[in-house]
């Protein structure tokens, strides 16, 4: 492989790893278009490499977030059941619904979430009588322990089902739906939502990545460089997430959601 292409791959995956670990997104929205458009790779191969990158980003960033008690493993596992079931349902729905219809709905949800998160301040419920759903994390940026009570777990799980269906149909959208569901609907603090999303996106990516790996369709050399870049980017992203102000993180995330919605709408319109 040409050295310029290798450097390009490393830079691309480093950016994907940084954004992925900072915001709890997979980074597939960056990896797939670049590999298909700039590297001339077919969509299936690009998707396979993207899933390997997501697994690397998730494992690297979630290990730190969980060790630092920012990610909520219990809530993540419980909600992810919905996403996993949704992904299976999505494969069935794909046979009956045009993917552009869902992409349009998905874009609408992203735009609504982005505006809501940008305009409305974060609402965290202080721990109350419900001890089972009350948790605490230490925010290094403010130097304070932040207590929060998780609300609406059952309806939040339904939101995760929708995230699973959407990501199965469109190939993106896991984290971009899961984080607003956790932060806006379930009142989980933004940093916890992003860190928990970092953890669960690895679980979501596992099935697909394992199938591609066992089927032997992964371009090993490209995947190797993407993995190394994603790992380095994730390490940087973890450091930034720990130190960044939660309010700023929420606003930057809402801008990113608008960008994702724009990309999806352009894709639906056949422009990209």
């Amino acid at each position: 492989m040409d050295s310029v292409l290798i450097i390009g791959l490393l830079v691309l995956s480093l950016i994907a790893g940084l954004i992925g670990s900072l915001f709890g997104l997979g980074g597939g929205i960056i990896v797939v278009p670049v590999l298909t458009i700039l590297y001339g790779m077919d969509a299936r191969s690009a998707m396979a490499i993207s899933l390997v990158a997501i697994a690397a980003i998730s494992a690297t960033s979630a290990s730190s977030h969980i060790k630092n008690r920012i990610a909520n493993v219990r809530i993540g596992l419980r909600l992810e059941v919905g996403a996993a079931a949704g992904a299976v349902a999505g494969a069935v729905i794909a046979l009956h619904v045009q993917s552009w219809v869902l992409a349009l709905c998905f874009s609408g949800v992203l735009i609504y979430s982005a505006i809501y998160m940008f305009v409305r301040p974060e609402r965290i419920i202080p721990p109350g009588d419900n001890e089972e759903n009350s948790f605490t994390y230490h925010d290094k940026a403010s130097g304070k322990d932040v207590g929060y009570e998780v609300r609406n777990i059952n309806t939040g799980t339904i939101g995760f089902v929708a995230a699973g269906v959407t990501s199965a149909l469109s190939g993106v959208g896991g984290g971009s739906i899961k984080i607003p569901v956790m932060n806006v609907h379930m009142h989980i603090p933004m940093k916890v939502a992003a860190a928990t999303s970092s953890y669960v996106i690895g679980i979501t990516a596992f099935s697909g990545a394992a199938v591609y790996l066992l089927s032997g369709v992964i371009d090993v050399q490209t995947a190797a460089f993407v993995t190394i870049g994603a790992f380095v980017g994730s390490v940087i992203g973890v450091r930034i997430l720990t130190m960044i102000d939660a309010g700023k993180l929420r606003r930057y995330f809402s801008v990113l959601l608008l960008f994702l919605a724009g990309v999806m709408l352009l894709n639906v319109g056949g422009i990209i």
Partner: protein, 92 residues
């Protein structure tokens, strides 16, 4: 048993070992040593299967701690994931 410590341990060492194997494979390829692709594949496999190992560890820890409220969803998640993977492999 502590859920967070066990989960982060598996993720940390899974990602580290996987990336190290991938990096060793890349270096072997650069200097022209054989079997470099097999080493890279081994590294990628470790990274891909790390989240699954993590689910198993999380479920085991929750079960040992008798946290049924979260152990049952964790088991359900493992089953759905395995079924989804098998379906993807055989039907995809």
């Amino acid at each position: 048993m502590n859920l967070e410590d066990n989960t982060s341990f598996v993720l940390r060492y899974g990602s580290l070992i996987g990336v190290m194997l991938v990096a060793i494979g890349v270096i072997m390829h650069a200097v022209g040593v054989g079997a470099n692709e097999e080493v890279m594949i081994a590294g990628i496999a470790v990274i891909v299967f790390t989240p699954f190992a993590c689910m198993i560890i999380s479920f085991t820890t929750l079960a040992v701690n008798r946290e049924r409220r979260y152990a049952i969803p964790a088991l359900a998640l493992i089953l759905i994931t395995v079924v989804g993977m098998a379906a993807g492999y055989y039907l995809g």
